[in-house]
């Protein structure tokens, strides 16, 4: 029976009391040997002998109606098995946690690149050939809104406010009013979206690249039109997600439909170009920041308005001002969002939706305000840290932002920062910048099962590991709780037949699935205490031995038959009474070439407090990865569309520039400050995966300003923009 726990009050720090001593330890990933030897099987890696190959066909108009799909045009293709399309095809991937099919547009086209058909053949080469040659006729709409700057289809939200922004802004001694823009970003996970669908009678098994199996199963069942009980999804290894695999996608639905009709397994792997065209991206944004402060540097007014885009019928709007709403306090706060509807590949969650782009603007504005005030940027932030969430009045559950700022400044050598444009190294200007980091934290309903036998323990949950370290941390939690060496715990993930967890998204996976694992193991501890004749609080489990009630026995002697416990966790009163967020501080040193405007990041430091760290090694990797995403968003990443058609023109990795080895310095340091968030969940953790990116890009852009005088309002800071901004600033 599943025990459900609601997070209604602070919980004791049991993981600080247990005796195994491996929580937080920098242990290697248990699945590492499989990954480094090519034996970890991703969705596209298992190809049964009788499987057929499917290739998606994409629309070549921005909007209109399909009037004909001429299957005769490819009928002669050797090995052709079929051309599939129809009312169950989906327009784009489901948004995260949708739990139902996304739009099924029938014969309508809503954006350039929309998957409209699947060609299936005996070989990949034949399917690809036929997909490219398939003749599709359209009735294209005239006057389509494809340009976010020109569309009239605007949905304006009412401002969210606290206090009176206008009054506070008008009495400020120093004010700043700036416009910023960020381009669309791609998640660009290295594994293209892939699915292998196989039917056995009424039952569909999908090997997929999916982040959230609980809702993916509902989405797939709804799209195909079957009972969710008849859908099993397997995603034991996922080649990166970053939000792009939150919802079920066209590759999965089309594979399932074709496999049912053909009565054989069908594999569909998106071409990289299709991944760019048909997977949810991050929106382009325009943002307006208004800050007002008194002469001492106290913020009086803060407003962050933004405009984002999405395709019709999509409910998602990037929460650009999310961090601005709680990071600094002011008397008057105001946040307004406008959503523009355009016929472009729809937008959705990409790593740290909101903070990833909102903090580029907010933290650059804070840097500029510090300069206007003649203040140290670190001091300006320290002066404006609120006691409570300034919008909701909730106390913070745990915050060490001030410590992160001070500690980071000390470690980085911030005191050696020079005035703007005064430090040179040959032809390079050199400068330092910093920014705060914040990413709000959540607990999402999750379940897990723990089995304990004399041989060891097994953890089972449909939770996924997208590179985040789930295999490692769930094993460590169970081993710590049950007093076992970590090698004695096996973690089984990514199968909808296991208890349903939160999935990987919003940085809540480790806290949520980790808490469920903790609670299931805790229930086993209670049984063991009973068998020892002691209170659970007097039970010590260590290296396979149980101590309590004045005796010590091997754990195996307490287990006659396998002990099995399932537990689930959900958010409760603490999520109302307190506000939980990870916090940190980013520091960057860059060199800017005086004549070309090229920016090189020389070193970065991130100091972060994110609750209890479950595995110092995998946590550090997550934080580093996020910081390097900051390098990309600051300097190179820019998705471009043809404004006339909405056609994405940067649809491969040669045109969409994710950071490569040479873009990333070796000198990248991550420091975790010790913290426990008692209000967050029973294991006192916070999310990690997205805090690293939040603010990181702004630290780099502020360093560019310090180096060479260039302020970059339209991102990223490509050489042309840097040169122009240097000229504008007179450097």
């Amino acid at each position: 029976m599943t025990k459900t726990f609601r997070m209604d009050e602070a919980q004791p720090r049991l993981l600080d009391e247990t005796g195994q001593g491996i929580i937080g330890a920098p242990l290697d990933r248990p699945e590492g040997p499989k990954k480094v030897s090519g034996r970890a099987a991703y969705a596209a890696d298992g190809m049964p002998d009788n499987a057929a190959h499917g290739v998606l066909v994409r629309a070549t108009i921005p909007r209109g109606r399909i009037t004909g799909i001429d299957t005769a045009s490819v009928a002669e293709t050797p090995g052709l098995l079929g051309v599939f399309h129809g009312p169950r095809f989906i327009r784009n991937p489901a948004q995260g946690m949708a739990g139902e099919a996304p739009v099924q547009p029938g014969d309508e086209v809503h954006y350039h690149g929309q998957p409209i058909a699947l060609v299936v053949a005996e070989s990949f080469e034949a399917a690809r050939d036929a997909a490219q040659r398939l003749v599709v006729s359209y009735d294209a709409d005239a006057n389509v809104d494809t340009d976010p700057a020109k569309t009239d289809a605007l949905e304006k939200g009412d401002p969210e406010t606290a206090g009176d922004f206008e009054a506070a802004f008008s009495k400020a001694d120093v004010t700043l009013d700036r416009a910023y823009s960020t381009p669309p970003h791609a998640a660009a996970a290295m594994e293209p979206h892939a699915a292998l669908a196989e039917w056995e009678g009424e039952t569909l098994t999908l090997r997929g690249a999916q982040q959230m199996l609980k809702t993916n199963r509902l989405e797939l069942a709804d799209a195909v039109g079957i009972d969710p009980e008849n859908v099993r999804i397997l995603s034991p290894y996922i080649g990166g997600g970053f939000g792009s695999k939150l919802g079920i996608g066209p590759e999965a639905v089309s594979a399932a439909l074709a496999a049912r009709e053909l009565r054989r397994p069908v594999r569909v792997v998106m071409a990289r170009q299709t991944v760019f065209d048909a997977v949810l991206r991050r929106t382009e944004t325009t943002q307006r920041l208004r800050l007002g402060a008194d002469r001492s540097g106290r913020l009086l007014a803060l407003s962050h308005d933004d405009r984002v885009t999405n395709l019709q019928d999509e409910g998602f709007a990037e929460p650009v001002s999310q961090a601005s709403q709680f990071l600094y306090g002011a008397e008057g706060l105001s946040f307004a969002q406008t959503l523009a509807r355009v016929s472009r590949t729809p937008s959705g969650s990409v790593r740290a939706p909101g903070e990833a782009v909102g903090m580029l603007a907010l933290e650059q504005a804070m840097d500029e305000l510090a300069e206007m005030l003649g203040m140290c940027p670190v001091e300006l932030r320290l002066k404006n840290l609120p006691e409570k969430n300034p919008m909701t009045g909730q106390p913070f559950s745990a915050t060490r932002l001030a410590d992160c700022l001070r500690d980071g400044a000390e470690r980085f050598g911030w005191k050696d920062r020079k005035p703007v444009g005064t430090r040179r190294d040959g032809e390079w200007y050199v400068g330092m910048g910093m920014a705060s980091a914040a990413r709000s934290n959540m607990l999402i309903e999750s379940a897990a099962r723990v089995r304990l036998s004399a041989e060891g323990a097994v953890v089972e949950t449909d939770m996924t590991d997208i590179g985040t370290g789930t295999y490692a941390i769930l094993g460590q939690i169970a081993a710590e709780m049950l007093g076992l060496p970590v090698e004695k715990v096996e973690v089984r993930l990514g199968d909808t037949r296991f208890p349903a967890a939160a999935g990987s998204g919003g940085s809540f996976g480790a806290s949520s699935a980790g808490s469920a694992t903790f609670l299931a193991a805790k229930a086993i501890r209670e049984t063991l205490a009973e068998r020892m004749g002691c209170e659970p609080s007097d039970l010590t489990l260590q290296n396979g031995m149980a101590r309590g009630g004045n005796r010590e026995v091997p754990l195996s002697e307490l287990i006659d038959a396998e002990l099995v416990e399932e537990a689930s966790v959900e958010a409760g009163d603490t999520s109302e009474s307190h506000f939980s967020s990870g916090f940190g501080a980013h520091f960057a040193e860059v060199a800017v070439h005086a004549y070309t405007g090229e920016v090189r990041v020389r070193r970065m430091l991130g100091v972060m407090a994110m609750g209890r760290i479950l595995n110092e090694k995998t946590a550090r990797s997550q934080a580093l990865g996020g910081m390097i995403w900051g390098v990309g968003s600051a300097l190179t990443e820019e998705m471009a569309h043809d404004p006339r058609t909405g056609h994405m023109v940067t649809r491969d990795l040669a045109n969409y520039h994710v950071p490569a080895h040479a873009d990333v310095p070796g000198d990248m340091t991550v420091v975790f400050l010790e913290e426990r968030d008692d209000m967050a969940n029973p294991i006192q953790t916070k999310g990690i995966g997205e805090l690293g990116i939040s603010g990181a890009g702004a630290a780099i852009l502020n360093a560019v300003r310090n180096a060479c005088g260039a302020r970059i309002y339209d991102m990223p800071a490509t050489p042309d923009r840097v040169i122009a901004a240097m000229d504008a600033a007179g450097y």
């Binding site: 030897s37 990949f124 996970a189 290295m190 910081m627 310095p665």
Partner: protein
């Protein structure tokens, strides 16, 4: 058509379409799925294998052009139970996260270290001749054909440096 290759030391023969890439031949014909398809365009490096000892993007090679050639894939370096020094270093340094680009990173690093030892210069080299230092700038430059979106880059380079030192 038919092509004979030596893969990881074993003679193999495949019956394939003329358009089949070496990558698809390895993955779908020989079941060696350790080499990954990240872009199918030579832009990401996830498909890197050794072809007669040199690193190549196998997605840019047609299988038909490699009659009699020797191919080494990630499966040929070491198994989970018997990892080689470079693979062990990747695990120890956490030089990966999702693991998808990892086989390509490791194959590329394997060949790159040989290129360094052979004195082949790179853009980052101070001189075109003489000993090349095994420093971070050299490794970063020489590994830039292998993208890692999880961005394990600094740790990948630490792992390569660690393995190279163990070996030398």
């Amino acid at each position: 058509m038919r092509t004979r290759l030596t893969v990881n030391g074993e003679p193999r023969e495949i019956e394939h379409d003329t358009r089949t890439t070496l990558l698809d031949a390895l993955r779908d014909h020989l079941g060696l799925t350790g080499s990954k398809k990240g872009c199918d365009h030579g832009q990401c490096g996830a498909c890197t294998v050794l072809l007669n000892g040199k690193r190549v993007n196998s997605c840019l090679c047609l299988a038909a052009m490699h009659e009699g050639d020797e191919v080494t894939t990630i499966e040929g370096l070491g198994s989970p139970e018997a990892l080689n020094a470079l693979q062990k270093a990747f695990v120890a340094k956490d030089g990966f996260q999702c693991g998808f680009c990892t086989p390509g990173q490791i194959m590329s690093a394997t060949a790159m270290l040989e290129e360094l030892r052979a004195g082949e210069p790179s853009y980052a080299s101070a001189s075109l001749e003489g000993d090349m230092p095994l420093d971070d700038a050299e490794i970063a430059e020489r590994m830039s054909g292998n993208l890692c979106r999880c961005s394990a880059y600094p740790l990948i380079r630490e792992a390569i440096a660690m393995a190279a030192e163990v070996k030398s």
